[in-house]
Symmetry: C2
Subunit: 302 residues, 2 copies
């Protein structure tokens, strides 16, 4: 029996997923049994199901969306799915603003589609219901913000998967928290305190058939077994080569050679994600934003 490393198995399985169909081949079975410490009872490999196929077909559309309405009831269905995501203490520390006006969409996120769902970290409903009963609730600290960001994002990702299951295309943009979030506050009349527009889901239909989906790195460096695995020099070489491999579709652009880079990651680190220059560039705006909107503890600035 030939043994295969978990990494090789994972990559091979991932490659086989290119067409969107998830099928674990028999070689994956034998190799896994040989390479993992706990051999599960032989209950057979998971069968691809519609949910897994939907997930394998997730894609973010960066092109234009048609000016075409969503099917009747689709937004309600997606919102009902979205709120099913788990959340801390069932306090649902988020708000979802539904924008159907295309000019407003453009104002908020620079893109236009059939509908924009703006997901905000938001404690105002919780605070208002506490105050209504005569209690106070202070979410003014970074821990609360991080927990609420997780709640908000789980709801958004659930909405994205629900939309995809309905054949609806989407764009997920974090431009609303990475750009100037103040314009979003005024465009949507958001509360000034304890609310932050975090991420948005633009729904609609792409004007062109989708091109191939982006690849993903898997191992090493993404999935770690038992404990964290630090990349060796050889593994760094392998990562660089994976990004360079046109068949893997890992990069944002394909013409990095024409643009004068020896590797895709060279283009990424010199042209796209340039090193942050601590000497000359201003620090992240996020700290000021979180402070301004009451997510950092006023008395201690933490």
């Amino acid at each position: 029996m030939k043994t295969t490393s978990p990494r090789r198995t994972f990559l091979k399985q991932s490659a086989a997923l290119g067409g969107g169909l998830l099928l674990l081949g028999s070689e994956a079975h034998t190799s896994r049994a040989a390479s993992t410490e706990t051999k599960p009872a032989g209950s057979g490999a998971p069968v691809a199901n519609e949910t897994l196929r939907t997930i394998q077909n997730l894609r973010t559309i960066h092109g234009n969306f048609l000016d075409k309405p969503l099917p009747e009831g689709a937004i309600e269905t997606i919102l009902q799915a979205s709120v099913r995501a788990a959340n801390a203490s069932n306090m649902q520390s988020y708000s979802i603003v539904v924008v159907k006006d295309r000019a407003k969409m453009k104002e908020v996120c620079t893109y236009q589609g059939s509908c924009l769902l703006v997901y905000c970290v938001d404690f105002n409903r919780v605070k208002a219901s506490a105050a209504h009963l005569g209690y106070t609730y202070f979410p003014d600290n970074l821990t609360a913000f991080v927990t609420a960001s997780i709640n908000t994002t789980m709801a958004l990702q659930t909405a994205a998967i629900a939309a995809r299951s309905l054949g609806i295309d989407y764009l997920i943009t974090n431009g609303i928290h990475r750009g100037d979030p103040e314009r979003v506050f005024s465009a949507l009349d958001l509360p000034e305190r304890n609310c932050l527009p975090l991420i948005a889901l633009l729904l609609g239909y792409a004007d062109k058939p989708a091109t191939g989906r982006k690849g993903r790195l898997s191992e090493p460096g993404i999935v770690h077994h038992v404990k964290y695995h630090r990349l060796s020099a050889a593994e760094c070489d392998a990562v660089v080569a994976e990004y360079d491999d046109p068949a893997r579709h890992l990069g944002l652009i394909e013409d990095w050679r024409e643009k004068g880079s020896a590797h895709y990651l060279e283009w990424l680190f010199t042209k796209w994600a340039r090193p942050f220059d601590t000497a000359t560039e201003p620090p992240s705006a996020m700290s000021a934003t979180l402070n301004r909107h009451g997510f950092i503890h006023a008395a201690t600035n933490k």
Copy 2:
């Protein structure tokens, strides 16, 4: 034709979802046509599909998990699904540590199941591949942390939905970032800089059949149309009443009356989510944690 408010329609639809089947009744169609400004072409309401049913059956299990292995290949299938989530610039600024040892799971998150996936915000692979090519990459700022947290959480939620589609139960815990994250660093040998264990997904099988799923608030205060809607006093009353309604299953406990509270939210705000006392309590530990692990800009502390 009877008109119904969007809120009433949403609640009615949500109530109809109790059994996990998503069906938009005809009343929802007519009411929506009457109450929204844009009436989509009559392409019919979305039909419940397997993905939507899986999402409606999402639930976090807080009881014990059996000491029972997952089916052959399930972890790989879930991980392959997880990495399909969208992420900023396809840089996958996260790591997923797979823990199968039950004693280790308990050490990391206090719970035990068949497998624990620890999702970490992590820039080390990106930094290492940059350094390998002679470049530097500094993710040492809060904006990078927030963006990476979103990437990490979208991957986690996708894994949770994939697991549920395979009939696997789960617990999502943010205890690893809300408690003392330092024990997770040592348990999993995480890099000290630019890595933070954010949230964990415990997979397995509950030892008891699931009880009813938790309800969710929808409107007002969660979903906002066109722009943000601030709760009126009457709406605050309605929120309080929704939490008090035993049929809605919104609360963490059912016996808050026996515990001496007049409303569930009174119990929540006095016994569970107590007001943060700025005078006597230490500030959020998150700021110190982010500083210690290199997510806050060293030179400017932002």
